[in-house]
């Protein structure tokens, strides 16, 4: 019974790596284009282990991201939780989609995530005010095959015994 609660450590590891990728310094010009690594990792793990990785994990990870990025606490957390909820609802279909179709779904999910994260910024008075804000939708979809293949290999290697 206790086997299916708790987050396996490779999952935790990848989430930490995703958090690190979110703050790793890159040239100023590329910064708005940075893919939403944490959201991508959450999409994959929620799809792969819907019974273990869910809304609470997403919320906690999002809160850490808020703290790391110096944003309003709860902003990314809510957005990530809602996005993960949708992944949990559609995971059986998402699993069997071909990669290109997954990329489309991922871009929609990331778009929703960015939209949800935008609202609090607008309400508190400092919206990004630039169309570049939406760039991660495209870049995240483009790196999705890479994330998917890497995490799938990781899962097959370490986590085959889990559902």
């Amino acid at each position: 019974m206790t086997r299916s609660i708790g987050i396996p450590w490779p999952v935790l590891g990848t989430l930490l790596v995703a958090l690190a990728l979110a703050i790793i310094p890159i040239p100023e010009a590329l910064r708005p284009a940075r893919p939403e690594w944490l959201a991508l990792a959450m999409i994959y793990w929620a799809m792969a282990f819907p019974s273990r990785i869910g809304i609470l994990t997403a919320f906690a990870a999002g809160l850490l991201l808020d703290a790391l990025l110096g944003q309003l606490l709860g902003q990314n957390a809510i957005a990530l939780a809602v996005m993960t909820y949708i992944v949990l609802q559609i995971h059986p279909r998402l699993r069997v989609y071909p990669i290109w179709q997954q990329m489309i779904v991922v871009s929609i999910l990331i778009g929703l995530y960015k939209l949800l994260a935008l609202w609090p910024q607008g309400i508190t008075g400092y919206p990004p005010g630039s169309v570049l804000y939406w760039l991660p939708i495209i870049t995240s979809a483009l790196v999705w095959p890479l994330v998917f293949l890497l995490l799938r290999d990781l899962r097959r290697h370490w986590l085959l015994h889990l559902t």
Binding site: L69, Y85, G129
Partner: protein, 316 residues
């Protein structure tokens, strides 16, 4: 419900997972998030939570920062000997000049203190300065913030002025155990009461989101402002000591139908390039206007200085 979704796998799944449905969980989490955001935005009660989360994530920041720093150190070790010798010579002559100036400064300071004693006004506060390094981590790309490697442990406090050798950089926004986040003057949420070095005209310098560009707001059309003018902190906000250089005016425009001048300025400190900054401890800055201080103390906003100082010049 999950049984129908996952089909045959359902047998291996524990029953108690049905206890809290994902929808309920989502609603709870959204509610919690909304409360967090409201608290974080409206009142500063969440400094503690923020500080705990920040301390938790500090190892991650260090892990990201370390390789970048190591790489730059490796690059440094490849600098040629001639370069080092030249640099050393330049630094030495600069040091000699600064020391000579410091001698004069100390004499002036003593004279100043004596004169102040004669006038029986308050003595100027003693200032303490500490160097802080920037951690090589990126923050929200649409905000102007930096992470410093000094935190609560080094007595850093919220609202503390951050400067470098050229001018004002910003102020501390939140502190953690070993690090802190500072808001740059170029952030749209940052406003700084300044005065013009030439005319003494008071105004408010607001960030634009562009690290090379600031705006001076609420200056009436008839005022005398010229490009090239130096803007200093006025000390009115009660956070920055007076007379620190902030920016130089780049352009002044009189827009049709606008009640105020459109003044663009360039910060003197290279906001997006400095790797080291100075933290300033200014014990006992006495704000000239008390209500401002009271306002700043109860201010739950992002720690920017209040616009109130700007309105004071307009008041009779």
């Amino acid at each position: 419900m999950p049984h129908s979704v996952t089909g045959g796998l359902a047998i291996s799944k524990p029953l108690f997972r049905l206890g809290v449905s994902p929808t309920l969980r989502l609603l709870a989490v959204i509610l919690l998030g909304l409360v967090l955001m409201a608290l974080d935005h409206r009142v500063n009660e969440l400094q503690a939570v923020r500080s705990i989360l920040g301390t938790l994530t500090h190892p991650l920041q260090i892990a990201v920062d370390a390789p970048v720093r190591a790489a730059s150190r490796v690059l440094d070790s490849f600098t040629s000997r001639e370069d080092l010798i030249t640099e050393n010579r330049i630094l030495r002559s600069e040091n000699a000049q600064l020391r000579a100036r410091q001698l004069r400064f100390e004499a002036l300071q003593q004279e100043n203190d004596r004169l102040r004693a004669l006038l029986s006004t308050a003595e100027q506060a003693e200032e303490r300065v500490q160097i802080a390094k920037l951690l090589a981590v990126d923050l929200d790309p649409f905000r102007q913030q930096i992470v410093l490697n000094k935190g609560k442990r080094d007595d850093v406090y919220v609202g503390q002025p951050v400067i470098n050798a050229d001018g004002v950089i910003g102020q501390v926004l939140s502190t953690r155990l070993n690090s802190s986040i500072a808001l740059l003057v170029s952030d749209p949420a940052h406003a700084l009461p300044v005065l013009s070095a030439r005319t003494g005209l008071r105004g408010l310098v607001v960030g634009t989101g562009n690290p090379q560009r600031l705006e001076m707001r609420h200056v009436p059309l008839q005022e005398d402002v010229e490009p090239g003018e130096l803007l200093l902190t006025s000390g009115l906000g009660g956070r920055f000591p007076a007379d620190l250089p902030v920016a130089r005016v780049v352009s002044v425009e009189r827009l049709q139908g606008q009640p105020f001048l459109s003044i663009k300025a360039e910060p003197l400190a290279a906001l997006d390039r400095s790797r080291e900054v100075l933290l300033l401890w200014t014990d006992g800055i006495t704000p000239l206007v008390d209500p401002i201080n009271a306002d700043a103390a109860s201010d739950g906003n992002t720690g920017s200085q209040d616009p109130e100082p700007a309105t004071s010049p307009d008041q009779p």
